[in-house]
Each structure stands twice: as C-alpha cells, then as structure tokens.
Subunit: 394 residues, 2 copies
C-alpha cells in the first residue's frame, strides 16, 4: 500500500534533507511515483530526467545534479531499511504523527522554502496548527551560554510568549533550552514554544534536555524532517537551521561566538527575506562576538527587548516597541535663544534684564520676550524686579 | 589696532557660537569690518543686509535671521566687555594662543562645517598642527560611566593612540576622562589627545579633571571656540559637540543613556558625513541604551575594538580590523556529500564501505571517492579494511 503520507515517510528516510535531486524528483513525479522510481520498482524515461534538469536549472541548483542514475546509486544502500509503516506506528505509539504538505496542519510558511521545503515533518506534540510566521519568533544561540545570555534569553522568551508569540528554537543546551523553558513559563497562547530537532523525534536529544523537551511536546511541538532513529549529524544540524528560520518571521541571535551555528540560522533567515535580530553584549564576551559580527555586517537589527522583536515580527510595521523616551528634559523644545537665556539665568539671587543681556549676549527685547516664555513654562520667575531660574528648571 | 586675529578674538566674545547672523556678517564683510559694524563703529548699507540674506538662504539658515538690526541689538550689551588684547595676553601668559582660519595650524577639517566654522580657536597646548581628520577619532560618552565603559574606553583610547591616532574628546568626567587618560598613556604620535571645551580654556573645567587637562595641554591641546572666562553653558556644550565631530573622521559613542549629549555629537558627525561607531553593551545597562539606539536606528556601525574603529577612519577603506577568524573548523570547505560522509564515519572501530553507504545515504562510488578526499585532508584513515575518523577530525 502506497499513499502520499507513507511515500513521503519513506522518502524522508531514503534521502538526506535537501537532497536536491530527490526533492526535484518528488516535485516532478509526485511522492508516490518518486518513491517507486527511487526504489527501482519502476523505471523512468529520458523525459523525467529532462524535466528534473529543467527544474533544477530554474532553481540554480543544477550544479549539484549529476543525473538520476547517480542519485539512485546514492539511495540504493538505504532501500533495505525502508519501513514507513513501522515508522508511522512508532510515531503513533509516542503520541505523534507525520505531516505532509497537503495536511491542514502543515505550516504554510514553509512554502517560502520553495523546492527546499521538507518532504514531511515528524511531529510530536499538540494536534494544533502552528502559528503563522508573523506570530513566531526564533531565538537561537550558543550551547555554552553565559549567565548574561541565559538571563536575556529568559526575559525575551518569557515576554514574547506572554505577548502570544510562539518561540521557535532547536532544543539544544544553552540558549535554546533557556528559550524553551521561559516560553513555557510565560506561555499564554495555544503553543508557546516548538523545538525543531536535527535528529529523530523518537528520542529527546540531548538527554539532559529530556524533561524539557517532553514538556515542549506536551504544550507545544517537537518536530524534525528526518525519521525516527536518525542521528543528529552535523549536516542535519545545518539543514535543520533552515526550518527554524522558515517557521518564524524573525530570527534573533541572543549569544553566539564568532563562528557559530546560530549565525548559519541567521543567514538562512536572511536568504528567506526574514528579519534577523542580534542582541548586543559586552565587547569582552566571546559569546557576543557573533552577534556583534551580525550587527557590523549590517544584516541584523540591534534588539534589546521583546517589544523591539515584536516590532520586527509585525508585518504591518505597527510600532510595538516599548516607549523608552526617558524623562524629557525641561529645556527640550526651547528655541536656541531661550536656551541661551535659560543658561544665563542665575539660580540663587535674581538678575536684572540688563545683566541678562550681557551674560546671554541677547538684546533687551529678546530677553524680555524670552523671560515671558520661560515664565509661562514655569522655568523662570521674577523676584524683586529681577529674574532667576525656578527649581524646576535645573 | 585692528587686525584679523584681534577682530576674531573680539567677535568670539561678542557672539555666541553658531550665531548665524554674525557668522554670515563675517563671511560677507570680513572679520575686521564685521567687528566695526557689529560694534556700531561703522554703519552699513542695504546691500550688506541683502548679501547676508542671500548667503543664509543658500545655507537654509534664513529662518533664524531677523535682520542685522536685531543682531546688533543682541550684540550691543557685550560691547563694553570687549578687550581682545587682554584676552590674547591672558592666553599668552597661559602658554596659549588664538588661532584663526588663515593660520597654518588651523585644522583644515573644520572647513567641512562651512558657514558654521568657528570664528577662532582658543588654544592651550603644543604649537603643532592637529592631525587631519583621518588620523583623529572622537571617543565620547556619559559622565556617569560604568566600570564597563571605563574599561572599554581605556582599551580603545590606548590602542588608538598606540596606532598613532589622536583621540578627541570633551574633557568631562566619565568616558571623556578615561579616553584622554588612556590616550596619554598609549600615545606614540605627536599629539595623542585633544580636549575640546565648552567654556573658556583659561581654567580647566571640571576642576576634578584639572590635572588631567593640564597633562592634555602639555602633550596635546585643550581648545575652545569661546574666549577665556566663558562659562560652559548647556548651549555651548551642544555647539562644542559639532567641533568634536568635525575634528575627527569617526565619532565613537562608548556609553550613553537613551538621552545623552554624546548622541548629539553623533548626530553632528552624521550631518557632516563622518562615520559614527557605537560600542555595544549589556541590554540591562541603561548606560548602553543610547549606543543600542544608535545601532538600531541604523546610523551607527557596531565597533568592538580599535581595529574596527581604525577601519572606519581609514579613508581608503583598507582593512585594518584585527583578524578575528577564530580557529577554522576542519570541516570547512568540504562539499555537502563529504560532510555527510565525515559525519557517518565512526570514531572508534572502523566501518566498511557498504555500511558507510547506508549510514550516509550515498552510493558506493561517492563513498570511495569521498574517503579518498577525506584521507588526503587527514580527516579519515583506513584500518583493517574499514574506515574511521582520525582524532584530528573531531
């Protein structure tokens, strides 16, 4: 029995993430025929190969395409391992499922990946729609986070979850774990956080985050494009990052070294036309060097609180940033002449208009008019025929 | 006796900094006639007023122009105080002088201020040319600096001075003082630091910085556009900031609150087309909020060390930033297939080519070719007919 869901489940085991030949084959032939061709059950004609070449040329991916024959050789060693029904049963036992693009629960923002959309998503968690990109924020960063990174991540994730955003991260130690944990604590919406894994979702990896990831699955979702039992290899980590970037409208790097996987996620976000934020930190902290690099290269926006991140996420550009005006100074909005005059006014004993003219370098008419304006603002007061500043103006 | 120098010395007492009517009068009539007109010694015809109006219209400053009559009224109260010869004698006694634009020592980068160039500079310090803008960096920031701000300012100023840059600042407490002090310590060039004051240079203000400013005058220069005896009013602080920005090719804000005079200096620099740098810091520090604001508004470049500042200052764009590549990872530059293969290689016991095909999801030819490439790079080694990773590749 072959149907779309089972075919995609099988294909995701046959092919590594972002196997462009495989993705193109699925695109051209459909998942069920793609599986039959990939497993050698049916042969293919020259037309199919031409269609794939044309598709890959359109996507400038033709360079990594060595023909369907080479791809079949690559897939052949894994054919004996295919057991999609067993994989689906495993997921069912774990309370999970596999999603395919035709499902109502499929996150539509993944369409932006085009040909690089995953073949399917292995999903443990609530049977609920993911929020649209505009309501999801990715918080990513180093595994070896500092106490600064932990505290900032906690503040941001908690506050974003409180505002109803879903916090997307990678389930790793460090920044990822702080992001998931604080989002769970702050969560007010339906799905406060989701974890996108590089390996299979049948086990919660790394083991030190097992309890946390179980909680994420209970209140949100833990998902991956690779089937149960897949090891989280370096290659899969790099591909996984594109899913984190695609699920959210903003990717914020909280802490990252000069070289860091989090920067890879940021670059995926940039490529997709998504916003990238970077949290500044001490110039002495190696764990902020990657963030500063992103700021310096001009691709990232400096973000310091959840309001600024919400502003980046908002598609209509409405201002959600916290008002941070500080106390306006009394002399704001004064004309230059009045500012000069205010500076010239003594604090203790009052000064005559003539004296003020000399000190301020202004004519008597200007001084008199200016004193009137300053008095109206409560900044100047007359006393015994002279003028002085009020306490308010200091 | 009226000559250019004495006339400008007198005019700088008669007029506040940036008195556009006065600056235009000097521009149109020359300094000596401008002084005669401003003090009522000679009268003027309607042609002069028209010329000034035209000049100010060209500079879009015509709005602040109420006619020469109003300006004369403004200047009149200070006429009795004029004693330029006494002021020059004061400067001479202090080992100083007054510079005018025709002097060889006049800093040519002030030309960029156009009409807003100061009338003269009151100067205490070495009788040496200031460096051109490309060799001068302004370091500015809050008076109430944190230990972080102090330490970063010290590192930057010391290192910039060691590279032969002149550090320009405002002589105030906090960031300014740390900048001057570290530049003096690191100074290798002729003039490691200069202080631009808002009040007269006859006294070193604030008094707590007296020893420091004396040292700046001994090894560099302390200067102001206002004459001896002038109080450092708020208005003069704001105008002074344009001189700091104009003297340097880069203005770096090390620490500043959300509202801070240092941001005013940064805006002057931007208006002049000079580069602006901002040092990132903790999002929890109110003293970095102004820097983050500059980064967020997009006007400032994120700078974390002296090399990055030197790069901004360099007019030819040559890269002076410190190499910060970090240790390149062994897997950098591998093709995706080889990276997948490297991930699939076991660390301990060797694996057969057939096994590697299954784990990596690659054909046998690709695996064999990839193993050859990885072996050449020292990342894979064969052992008893199988293959494993080398220690180097982990």
């Amino acid at each position: 029995m072959h149907n779309e869901r089972i075919a995609r489940a099988a294909l995701s085991r046959l092919m590594e993430p972002q196997d462009v030949a495989g993705l193109a084959l699925v695109h051209v032939a459909g998942a069920e025929d793609a599986l039959r061709i990939a497993t050698g059950q049916v042969s293919y004609g020259p037309g199919l190969e031409q269609d794939i070449t044309g598709l890959l040329a359109d996507h400038s991916s033709v360079n990594s395409w060595a023909g369907l024959g080479a791809a079949l050789k690559r897939w052949a060693p894994r054919i004996p391992d295919l057991a999609p029904e067993r994989d689906l049963a495993t997921m069912h036992r774990l309370g999970g499922r596999v999603l395919v693009p035709t499902d109502g629960l499929w996150p539509r923002q993944l369409d932006d990946l085009g040909l690089h959309q995953p073949i399917c998503l292995w999903w443990r968690g609530l049977e609920l729609e993911l929020p649209p990109a505009a309501r999801a924020v990715a918080l990513v960063g180093s595994r070896d986070s500092t106490s600064y990174g932990a505290s900032v991540t906690g503040d941001l994730a908690y506050s974003l979850a409180q505002r109803g955003f879903t916090v997307v991260s990678g389930g790793a130690y460090g920044i990822d774990a702080h992001a998931h944990r604080a989002a769970l604590a702050g969560g007010s919406g339906a799905m406060p956080t989701i974890a996108v894994m590089a390996g299979g979702v049948d086990r919660f990896y790394p083991s030190g985050n097992e309890d946390l990831l179980r909680a994420v699955a209970n209140q949100g979702a833990v998902l991956a494009e690779v089937p149960p039992g897949s090891a989280p290899t370096r290659y899969r980590f790099l591909q996984r990052n594109r899913l984190i970037a695609a699920l959210a409208s903003v990717t914020v790097v909280v802490e990252a070294r000069w070289r860091s996987g989090a920067l890879n996620t940021a670059h995926h976000a940039e490529t997709l036309g998504r916003a990238v934020g970077a949290v500044p930190g001490s110039v002495h902290s190696a764990n902020s060097a990657g963030c500063h690099r992103l700021l310096r290269d001009g691709g990232a926006v400096c973000v310091t609180d959840a309001g600024e991140i919400a502003e980046l996420a908002s598609p209509c550009g409405q201002s959600l940033a916290d008002e941070k005006s500080g106390r306006p100074a009394d002399h704001d909005g004064l004309t230059l002449e009045d500012l000069i005059l205010l500076d010239a006014l003594p604090l203790r004993s009052a000064s005559s208009v003539e004296k003020l003219c000399t000190v301020a370098g202004l004519g008597a008419d200007s001084v008199r008019a200016g004193l009137g304006r300053l008095a109206l603002l409560g900044l100047a007061a007359s006393e015994k025929g002279g003028w002085k500043r009020t306490r308010q103006s200091t």
